[in-house]
């Protein structure tokens, strides 16, 4: 009875807008490439626009680097590796990285606002998650620079040389921090390319790195498209490729470097299971489901995009979930009330829409709350799919949007089997009150990160990365160092 009442009561809380100001940010009209400590024009002379996906307005334009620019950047990185960075004592290296962390912290609000404008993610998340984590990542790895021998028992640790790094558009600044901080701490120099739809915070980071007084060429930041990334991957004098992005591109990269000695770490896609057992605290679990799939509009490689609910509580959980998502605020990412912001790009919105159509064509039952989307910009309603099969494409393939599939199970064994039945292995969520059950599931789920009674938590000290087709290597923590060192 009570449950039906929940369903009927349409939630109509009104919030007055609480807009974050963008008056204090500095954005140039045009950004060049940051190579060898200088801002240089792209050799092609080409620039492209970067827009705010929430209103399609142009924010700035950035340079499109080609293979000549990449070559210039790699040469600068090599020169500074040989001449300067490898001769800088570890303790001094450490202090440079601490400086970066501090300067970022001082400008944290500016970074958060620019991230929200450029990526469409809500200001609450960029302010409270992305930017603080990015700062802390530098702060954490800074301290490793002069302690590397403690991380690898019985071995001498050496840097690899020049690291080529390619970052995605879902956590632009945070991913740049994940890549650059351990690379520098281990003594490498860097050529980094941010994603084409979200280049601005990486360029702001170049400013911070410049202000921190890092020797020229230690970090080079090049904006561009896939061809720019390919030029980095294919460059002969790059020793290591670190890539975060789609599994498809990850496979192309592994193939492209197969004839070389380049080391690689690939942080790729996922289709992570979020498993709700009947003894779970259901209201907390519902919050966890929402955080799992709607955090950052579902643009999260470890998003809990496959929900598994034990049959005995499935009806109740789905009802609570529907009720909960009817109160999510979808709209302007700059509004501090907003829960779900803009989809990152038109291209991504098209992909999500394509999968929603596939889900409907496969016969799944769709639920979307009755909400009004902003008229301009790219937005998508939070979407649930019930009545899906393990073989459904929307269950098997990564959608990278606010779309959740819901399956049920009777036994723990069945949940484990279904959860593991995917080519991916990035993350998994477990919700239960029983400790021994957590450890049973945690040990049997094939995933690099297990969140028990929580979801989508990140920390610089906590290694992140997947099994199987979710890629290889770990980022974060002591384990993240091994991606950037040679052991002798």
């Amino acid at each position: 009875m009570a449950r039906k009442e929940i369903n009927k009561s349409k939630v109509t809380w009104d919030y007055s807008p609480a807009m974050e100001s963008s008056s204090h940010i500095n954005l140039k009209k045009k950004y060049d490439l940051y190579i060898d400590g200088k801002w240089v024009k792209p050799s092609s002379g080409k620039y492209f626009d970067t827009i705010n996906p929430a209103n399609k307005e142009k924010l700035s334009e950035v340079a499109h680097a080609n293979d000549k620019d990449v070559d210039k950047a790699v040469k600068a990185a090599r020169k500074s590796y040989k001449g300067v960075w490898s001769k800088t004592t570890p303790a001094e290296r450490s202090k440079y990285i601490y400086r970066i962390a501090r300067l970022m912290q001082e400008r944290a609000r500016e970074f958060a606002v620019i991230e929200t404008l450029d990526a469409g993610k809500v200001i609450r998340e960029s302010r409270d998650v992305d930017v603080p984590l990015a700062c802390n990542h530098f702060f954490y790895y800074a301290g490793w620079a002069d302690k590397l021998e403690y991380a690898f028992p019985n071995r001498k640790v050496e840097p690899l040389g020049v690291a080529g790094q390619i970052t995605p558009w879902n956590f632009p600044l945070l991913m740049a921090a994940w890549k650059i901080a351990p690379a520098l701490a281990a003594g490498n120099t860097v050529v980094l390319k941010p994603a084409e739809t979200t280049p601005l915070t990486a360029l702001k980071l170049a400013e911070v790195i410049h202000d921190a007084g890092l020797p020229p060429g230690v970090v080079n930041i090049l904006t561009g498209f896939g061809d720019t990334g390919a030029a980095i991957v294919d460059h002969d004098d790059v020793d290591k490729i670190a890539f975060t992005g789609s599994t498809g591109v990850g496979k192309i990269i592994q193939n492209a470097i197969s004839g070389t000695d380049k080391k690689a770490t690939l942080e790729l896609g996922g289709k992570s299971a979020n498993i709700i057992l009947e003894d779970a605290p259901l209201d907390q679990a519902v919050e966890g489901i929402v955080n799992g799939i709607f955090f950052n509009q579902g643009h999260v490689c470890c998003a809990g995009s496959r929900l598994f609910v034990q049959e005995s509580v499935a009806e109740k959980v789905i009802e609570k979930l529907k009720h909960r998502i009817s109160s999510l605020v979808i709209g302007d990412p700059m509004d501090k009330n907003t829960d779900i912001g803009a989809i990152n790009s038109k291209e991504q919105l098209d992909t999500i829409d394509k999968y929603i159509k596939i889900g409907l064509a496969e016969g799944a039952t769709m639920y979307q709350p009755d909400c009004v989307l902003p008229k301009t910009g790219y937005f998508c309603k939070p979407t649930l799919f019930m009545d899906v099969a393990q073989s459904s494409r929307i269950v098997q393939e990564e959608i990278f949007g606010p779309v959740l599939t819901i399956q049920t199970f009777r036994t723990v064994d069945e949940a484990i089997q279904k959860a593991n039945n995917t080519p991916f292995g990035l993350a998994a969520g477990i919700w239960t009150d029983k400790g021994s059950r957590i450890f049973n599931l945690a040990s049997k789920l094939n995933a690099g990160v297990i969140w028990a009674n929580t979801y989508n938590k990140f920390d610089p000290t906590s290694p992140f990365g997947g099994y199987k087709e979710s890629g290889y290597g770990r980022e974060g923590g002591l384990h993240g160092l091994s991606a950037y060192v040679k052991l002798k």
Binding site: S258, L266, A442, G448, K457, P463
Partner: protein, 293 residues
């Protein structure tokens, strides 16, 4: 009258059983004196696939064995090898080793097994971590086995390379499909017999004789193989391994080592075939009491 010697039929090792290759094919490698080593199984891609199935089936049980038990089993392999020392020395000499070199190779192989037996219940402590996250969570990382590993064993030795390549893989809870030295196959076959009498569950190690050039492709393109260990330095083979591994993003581990050296063993060869799993759980953080009470 002198007794007629019973000749040995050389077999492969799949799922704890000793079949001949399903293909019925064989080859006759020669030793340095030009003598035939025997009718050795020229294993086929179907044998490779059967082995992967056996390895996958064995993975659950082996990976869930207590670390201590895995250590005991590796130690047991060493014991069995010690007991059959003479046979291995004879085989090595028949394949071209001097007596001294053969004795040394068997001794180092036994010691290598003991070395990794010891790591079985220690690497977790050395490599694992509790991570001091800023939020109110308990967070720890541990190493867990990668799964089914394809092993292209050292082609220049008959026993020590094979043992050095297998031991760290199984000490860490993986199962494997091993392509042995094509032209020095005798010890691989006898080593399978040692494994079979050492409480190693069937399917944990599967050993195929024949041509790696022929079998590498079905192994590296197999979607149920998680990683590949390659011992050697042939660049075109390494390239092929990496290329076909891109299909399902297998991890590729290559080692170019002189396995007979006492220090051609370390923790990192074991950790190379591990995945890092990190688990989070909230810590209740309500009420005012702190540890200063």
């Amino acid at each position: 009258m002198e007794r007629l010697e019973v000749l040995k039929t050389y077999k492969i090792y799949i799922g704890g059983k000793f079949p001949r290759t399903e293909s019925g094919r064989f080859y006759n490698p020669l030793n340095s004196k030009g003598e035939q080593l025997g009718n050795i199984c020229l294993s086929s891609r179907k044998d490779v696939r059967n082995s992967v199935v056996a390895a996958r089936k064995a993975f659950g049980g082996w990976s869930e064995r207590a670390a201590n038990n895995r250590g005991q089993i590796l130690y047991r392999i060493a014991e069995m090898l010690e007991g059959r020392k003479t046979q291995f020395i004879e085989e090595l000499m028949f394949q071209g080793s001097t007596k001294k070199a053969a004795e040394n190779e068997v001794n180092v192989s036994i010691d290598r097994l003991i070395y990794y037996a010891g790591w079985s219940d220690k690497y977790m402590q050395v490599l694992g971590s509790i991570n001091p996250v800023a939020s109110s969570h308990f967070n720890f990382s541990m190493h867990v086995p990668m799964g089914v590993i394809g092993v292209v064993a050292d082609q220049t030795t008959s026993l020590i390379g094979l043992v050095s390549n297998i031991a760290p893989v199984i000490a860490g809870g993986n199962t494997c499909v091993v392509l042995s030295a094509e032209n020095l196959p005798l010890c691989a076959i006898t080593f399978a017999e040692v494994l079979n009498s050492s409480d190693v569950p069937g399917g944990v190690v599967n050993i195929l004789t024949g041509s790696p050039a022929e079998m590498i492709k079905p192994l590296t393109t197999h979607m149920d193989v998680n990683g590949m260990v390659y011992s050697g330095n042939d660049r075109s083979t390494i390239k092929k391994l990496k290329e076909s591994s891109a299909l399902n993003l297998k991890r590729i581990m290559t080692y170019d080592e002189d396995w007979i050296k006492a220090d051609a063993q370390n923790l990192y060869m074991l950790s190379d075939c591990q995945e890092v799993k990190t688990t989070w759980h909230p810590i209740e953080n309500i009420g005012g009491a702190t540890s200063s009470y």
